[in-house]
C-alpha cells in the first residue's frame, strides 16, 4: 500500500515538474525564428554585431537550421571574420535542439531506472531489461555530450561596437592591447566590475568594456 502511494506521488511530482518546465512564457521568450528574423533585421540595418548576436542565439535553439548558418557567414565574410566550423562529433551531438535532447535524456534516465528495477523483479526477462538500460544510458550520454559541446558557447559574447579596444587591465584608461572588430565572437573567461576578460579565437586575451559586448546567453 505504501509502495503504491510512493509511486503515485512520484508520478504526480514528475508530471507537475514536467509541465512547469515545459510551460511557455506568455511574452518575452525566445524563438529560433524570431531571433533569426531579428538578426536579419539588424544585418539589413547595418549592425553586424547585433545581427551575429541574434543568429548565434537562434542557432542555440535551432542548431541545424541551414538558414542561420548561411546568414551568419553572409554577415561575417564581408567583415573578414572567420566562421566557426563544426567537427563530426559536434555535428553528431547536435542532431536535435537542446530542448529536445533534454527530454530525450530524461527518457533515457527513465529507461535506465525501469530496466534496473525490472531486472530485480522479472528475472526471466533479464536481457530485455539490460538492453533497455543500455539504451537509456546511450540517450543520457547523447544529452551529456550535447551539453559538453554547447558549454563553451554559453560563455561566448559578440562584440557589438566597432573598434572595441581590448585593454591590458580592467580600467577605462588601461593601455589598449588590441582592437576587436564588430561582430567578432569572443569567449568571456572572467569579469571584473564593468569589464570582461575575453579571449579571441586567435587566442589573444584582453579586458573589454561589457557595454561593448553582448553575451550570447543573457545572464538572468
Amino acid at each position: 500500500m505504501i509502495v503504491r502511494a510512493q509511486l503515485a506521488a512520484l508520478i504526480i511530482g514528475v508530471v507537475v515538474l514536467g509541465c512547469q518546465a515545459r510551460a511557455q512564457p506568455a511574452e518575452g521568450g525566445y524563438s529560433a525564428a524570431g531571433l533569426y528574423n531579428l538578426g536579419n533585421a539588424y544585418a539589413r540595418a547595418g549592425k553586424p554585431g547585433m545581427a551575429v548576436l541574434n543568429y548565434e542565439r537562434a542557432s542555440l535553439l535551432a542548431p541545424n537550421d541551414p538558414d542561420i548558418e548561411a546568414n551568419l557567414r553572409a554577415v561575417r565574410e564581408p567583415l573578414h571574420l572567420r566562421s566557426e566550423s563544426r567537427n563530426w562529433f559536434e555535428r553528431a551531438v547536435v542532431l536535435a535542439s537542446p530542448r529536445m535532447l533534454s527530454w530525450i535524456g530524461l527518457l533515457g534516465l527513465m529507461a535506465v531506472g525501469a530496466g534496473l528495477l525490472a531486472e530485480q523483479l522479472a528475472i526471466r526477462h533479464r536481457w530485455t531489461c539490460r538492453a533497455a538500460t543500455l539504451c537509456g544510458v546511450a540517450l543520457i550520454g547523447l544529452t551529456v555530450c550535447n551539453g559538453v559541446v554547447l558549454w563553451p558557447r554559453l560563455h561566448e559574447a559578440v562584440v557589438i561596437v566597432n573598434a572595441t579596444p581590448a585593454r591590458v587591465s580592467p580600467a577605462p584608461m588601461g593601455e589598449t592591447s588590441f582592437v576587436l572588430p564588430e561582430a567578432e565572437t569572443v569567449k568571456m573567461t572572467a569579469q571584473y566590475e564593468d569589464f570582461a576578460l575575453v579571449q579571441t579565437r586567435a587566442g589573444r586575451t584582453g579586458w573589454v568594456s561589457r557595454a561593448n559586448l553582448a553575451p550570447v546567453v543573457a545572464q538572468p
Partner: protein, 614 residues
Amino acid sequence: MSSKRIRRAEPIALIVALLVTAPALATGILASATIEPAEITIGESAQLTITSLDADTQPITLPLVSGLEFRVVERSRRIEFINGATLATTTMVVRVTPQVAGTFTIPGITPVSQPLVLRVDKDNGIGNSSLAANSSSSPSRPTIARGALPSGIHMTPDGSAFVQLSVPKRDVYVGESIPVSIEVGMRAGVVRSLNGLPMLAGSDFTLNNLSRQPERVQKTIDGKPFTVLTWHSVLAAVKPGSFSLIVESPLTVRISTRPQREAMLEDQLGDPFMQNIFGPTVQKDIKVASPPVELTVSMLPTEGRPPDFSGAVGAFAIATDISPLTAAAGDPLTLRLHVIGSGNFDRVDSAMLAHVDQWKTYPPKSSFKSNDAIGYKGEKIFEQPLIASKPGAQTLPGLTFSYFEPTTRRYETARSAPLGVTISPSLADSSLTAQQLAALTTAQPTDQSPGGLRPDHIASGSIASSLIPLYLQPRFLAIPSLLTFAFAGGWLRLRRRAADSTGRNSRRDRGLSKANRVLVQLEAAARAGDSAQFFNVARSALQRALAARWQLAPEQMSAADMDARLGSDGDSDEIRQLFALADEANYSPLQPATIDFARWTRIVRRGLTGETAP
C-alpha cells in the same frame, strides 16, 4: 781683563761673519722678492715675483710652506747696459694659491732675502674672483668702475663676470611658485667657459630644472663686451622664515699674471685680444655668486582652508565639459575639468566626482599644457571616465576647485555649473520590441539587403523562456533528480528484499542439516540399543536448540531455567521427560526393549525443527 778678551774675540767674529756670508755671495744677490697682494681670500691666488740680479747663479728653489701651493707661471730674463757695464736680471713669477685660511710666512728665497707674509681670509661667498690683487683689500687696482655699472649688477672684482638673480616679489608662501630669471654675464676673452648651470646656494629653496639652452645676448657693460646668458625658472620655498637667496655659477676665467701696474695698463688697452697677446695668463676655476636677495617665506594660513584644498597657490579659474553629450547606458563618457591660470601646477589636484547616484565613476587622469617655458602659466586638464547605469536625462553636479590666492592672501574656491547629458538604453541588453523590429525592417527593405541574406522565417514553433538549454535549468533538473532518487530507492529496496529472502533460506537450510546429523546419530544409537548414547545426543541437541531459541548459552542453561521457560503443553512435558530419562540413563542404563526410540526421535525432530505435534 775683559778688554783683552774683546780684542781677542773681534778677529774670530770677523772670520765667522765671512764664513756665514760667503755662500750668499757665491749664489748671487737677490734684488727683490715681492708678493701681491699680501691679503687674499680662499679661492684666490697671490703673485710672488722673484727678481735675481745674476743669471748665472744656481736655479732658485721654491719654498715649501704648508697650506700654500707654489707654481711657476713665468720666467723672463733681462740684460741692461749701464755705463758700459752689463746687468742681467732674471724674473720669475710664481702663483701662490692657499689651501686653507690663515697667515703664512714664506721664508726668504735666499739667505739674505726677507721672509714674506701672506694673509688668507675665509671666503665670504660674494662675487669673488681669482685676481686677489683686485679685491677690496687692495684698492690699488680698481679695474672696474662699479659706479658706472647698470643697477642690480654686481661685477666680480676683476670685472670678468657677474651673476644676477631677479625675483619679482619678496614676500612669498611655502609651496608658492615664483618665476625667477638668472643672468650670467661673462666678459669676452676673460671667461673661458661656463662649467655648469647656475645653482642655488643652500637648501631653503628649490629651483626647477634649468634649460641647457639659455637665452644668449651680447651686451656692452661699462664699455666692455659681455656675453649674457639668461635662464628662466620657477623657485619655491620649502620652509618658512627669512632667507638670503644666492645663485652661484661655476666659471673658468683667464687670470693675468702681469704685475699690477702692467695689468692696469692692459685694462687701459681695453681689447681682450691685445691683453691676451701682451699679457701672460693662467686659467682658474671660480664660482661667481649673485648678490643676496632677501626673501620672507610665510606658512599658508590655516583659517578658512577648504577641505578639498590640495596645496595649489596662485591664480586659477576652472571650466568643465563632458563628451559625448549623448550616450547609451553602459557607454563610457569623459568628464573634463580645466584648471587654467598661473601658480604651482604640480600641486593642482582634484578628485573630480567621487560618487554619483546611477553613475559609475573612475579615478581621474591629469595632463598639463604649459603656456610658458617654465610651467608657471598653463592649463591642467583632469579627465574622469564615467559610465551611466540607467537611461534618461541625467545631470552631473558641478565641480569645485580650491586654491590659495597670494595676492589677496586668502583661500578661493572656484565652482563650475552642473552638466546635463542624455543617456539612451543600451543595445546589449535589448530584445527589441515589435515596433523597433518593424522600424529596423522597414528602414531597409529585404530586397535591398546586400550580402544575400536568406529570407525571414515565419514566426512559429516553440518559444523558450531562456536560451540556457533545458537540461541546465534548475527547474528541469529537479525531474531527473527526483527520478534518480526514486529509482535508486526502489532498486535498493528490491535488492534488500532479495538479500533478506536469501538469508532466511540459508539459515533454515543450515538448521535442517544440523537436525539431520543429530537424527542420524540418534538412529545409529537406537540401532545399537545404546540408550545412554541416544538420550545424551538427544538432550544435548535439544539443549542447544532451546538455548538458541531463548538466546542463551547452552552451558549456562540450568535445569531450573529450562523447567521455568518450558511451557505446560504436551511437547514441553515430553522434553522434560526426555531430559529425565537422559539423566537416568547416565546412571543406570535402560533396557532397550522398554524404550520407544522412534517416538523419542520424532520428539527430538520436532524440538529441533520447531514443528508442532500433530
